[in-house]
Symmetry: C2
Subunit: 116 residues, 2 copies
């Protein structure tokens, strides 16, 4: 293989206590990355898809968040029990999981329903 | 804005001492990310390009490495003095810096000129 067919970045950022914006790691970001890595391997995608830890992805109010490249599909408020669906639907079959997608209007915005 | 126009992930991984594969952080990965972030801001791209820290990108023998999405251009053996060129050429003008690109044959391979 050469490039990854898909490269998933899961936010594992943790701010200092008392920070204004929330952090993904204490909301489960690290476990998500580990579960995604395991599920990718179990689906036989180990050589074509990488589940990667990332620093702050800057969509903090929607965490835990992840982004799938090259298609730039963002998922937010992801729970451990969503991981298998993301792998089966998106990473195996190329169908993003619409119910978990962050709206374009929620990305990189100072104000949205999740960031009043 | 909505999605980032470009999202650059710079490996900041650091393995335990004595690990078989090398690590990007002690080879300058963290400083690269910081310099890239500063240069992106100085170029007026702060709202459209994100310079992101990443965990291990698994191209360890070519470090420090970074990858630019959505185009999936990989750079290796990047030095601090290369950062401005990456910003000016690739991130501002959309022209990848060919001299710094990792060859397809170097990606995700158990053996290449850098990984004998």
């Amino acid at each position: 293989m050469a490039k990854f067919e898909r490269h998933v970045f899961v936010c594992g950022n943790e701010r200092l206590e008392g920070a204004v914006r929330p952090s993904c790691r204490p909301r489960g970001g690290r476990q998500l990355k580990d579960a995604l890595k395991d599920a990718v391997k179990a689906a036989g995608l180990k050589n074509t898809v990488r589940a990667n830890e990332a620093g702050c992805l800057d969509q903090c109010e929607h965490g835990p968040v992840m982004v799938v490249y090259p298609e730039a599909v963002w998922y937010g408020f992801v729970k451990l029990e969503d991981v298998q669906e993301i792998v089966n639907e998106h990473l195996v079959h190329g169908r993003p999981v619409e119910r978990l997608r962050l709206a374009e209007s929620c990305l990189n915005t100072p104000s949205c329903p999740h960031r009043p």
